[in-house]
Amino acid sequence: MDYIPHITLILYLVGLLALGILGLLKGRRAKHAEADYYLASRGQGVLTTSLTIMATYFSGFAILTFPGWVYGNGVPPMFYALNLPVAAAAIYILGNPIRRIGRKRGYITPADMIADYYGDSQFIRGMVAFLGALYVVPYVVMQVKAGGILAQGLFPDIASVTLLGQELTMENAGVGALSLITMTYVIVGGMRSVAWTDVLQGLLLLSAMLLSGVVLMHALGGPSGYFKEVSQLDGQLLTMPDAPAKFNAWHAVTFCAFASLASIVQPAQWMRFYAARDSATLRRTAIAFSTILPICFIFGVFLVGLGGRTLYPMLADGSLPVGLTNPDQIVVRVIQDLFPELLGTVGVILVSLILVAVMAASMSTADSNLHALSAVATRDVYHQLRPKAGEKERTWFGRAVIVIATLAAAGITYAGSGTNLLDTIAAFFFLAMAFSAQLLPITIDLLFLRRGTKAGAVAGLVAGMIVVFLFPPLGALLFGEGSALVSGTGKLKALLDVGFCGMVVNTIVFVVVSRFTTPPDTAHREAFAQDLKNQPQQNADLPISKS
């Protein structure tokens, strides 16, 4: 049975490459190279759209960190799952008008739309691209690193491998192999390959999340046995803590309301709205997102975290039991211990599949962000510097960006943890959603209100970003751990979501500056509003194909 993890992993990786090649073949006859490479010719159907949005929404966080929080803190962190219905509503309410006007005006990146509305400003385009990069770059690096750690978890008995005379740890080998495969299928097939591989990865991830909860409940004697065990846990784990304790109600509310929206307006998701075939696709995606994901969390992987606490109780001094070095390992520990014992060979296969699913969670986030980074670098930077570049040239430049970004991410990871660069990137990763949240005020303005000005938008974005920079861990890097400022923002962070704090300042500055500056001219605003409305499409300049 030792060969089962190897076979599972090989089948999974071959499947990814095959989907990448299929994506390439499907896109070869496309008339518009750029729209096809970045948006799959705006023809993605409901299965692809829903699973690629879900897979991009969750990284390894879903199956490792979230249940780890539940293991350490009980039921209160589970309330963070209420961000899922908020995100589901946003998929239609924000996503559908974005899709509609994106199709009418040929937008590809978020900055295309924002810069177009606020007067085709290069500065605002650059700001939006910079904010997008602040989200995307740390995600790519950290997911590549996570992939390496998971490879080590999948083959714990292999200490190191030798490649071209170089001795590499299993983590290094995992980083190299996953980076190479991810880079290959993103380069060859663009959005279509990324979305199709996300379908496979999303299905694996969702099945693993639900299955692990069901099997654990079965192992503890069904629902009654499970909750009998859980009822013996410390009362602190089964009640909501008061502020400023971790996972308090204030933080949960602001996280659910704003972090979810921040994840929905980040570049990779925004481009998925442009890529959706029609409004029915996004409506059905919202339905799938609001039903399937909460089930997989609340009746799946959360129960593993809580049940894991009864199976592997923490020690009296609050430290972790033998066999666990980090709460994030609880799902892997539970399935590795229980599945083979309960299900024999089938259990071993399931363990391999679930570990591959964890890897899939990291890869699906890394590929979507690599692809979005390529679009942002090409459309918002290269095309602005070299306006004469044709579609094909831009697409090839985008592919080069993917190669460079992947090699850089793998190189940074190879350099090892504990280095200043990796620590800094990790600090940005923890605040990535807070940066992305700063796009919300202008997004809501241009979609629904259209009262803001270019000066207001720029001032709001800058103010919001500065606020986020003041919070730990970035604030601590800039001003030192012991500074009064970081101590103050640290206390505020315990109470409220960082993105929310930045957004409050951003919105106030946006409104005040817009009040005293000139908005885009009325004809421009009316034309924009007209294109946002639901009207039959005329003179469509981009082809629509089924994906």
Binding site: V75, Y92, N96, S231, L238, T239, A252, R283, R284
Partner: protein
């Protein structure tokens, strides 16, 4: 889907928005404190921690709002 007049749907839109936002605020907020009890006196319902059941209920309310909106308010247009 058929396209009902917008003004007729306004009350439903307002009601769904209010219920959704109320669930978002009260669910993890005040409701969770009331439902779960305190650490010395944890509440259970049918042997299940009441805080967990409250989470399930809140999520059900929010998801129901989305399903109703998707069936009635969100129109397929292309």
């Amino acid at each position: 889907m058929t396209d009902p007049p917008t003004d007729k749907l306004r009350p439903l839109r307002i009601r769904l928005t209010v219920v959704f936002l109320a669930a978002l605020l009260i669910g993890p907020g005040l409701g969770s404190h009331l439902a779960g009890g305190d650490p010395e006196n944890v509440r259970f319902l049918f042997g299940v921690p009441a805080l967990y059941l409250w989470l399930v209920f809140t999520c059900l309310v929010m998801t129901s709002c989305i399903l109703i909106a998707a069936r009635t308010l969100w129109r397929d247009e292309d």
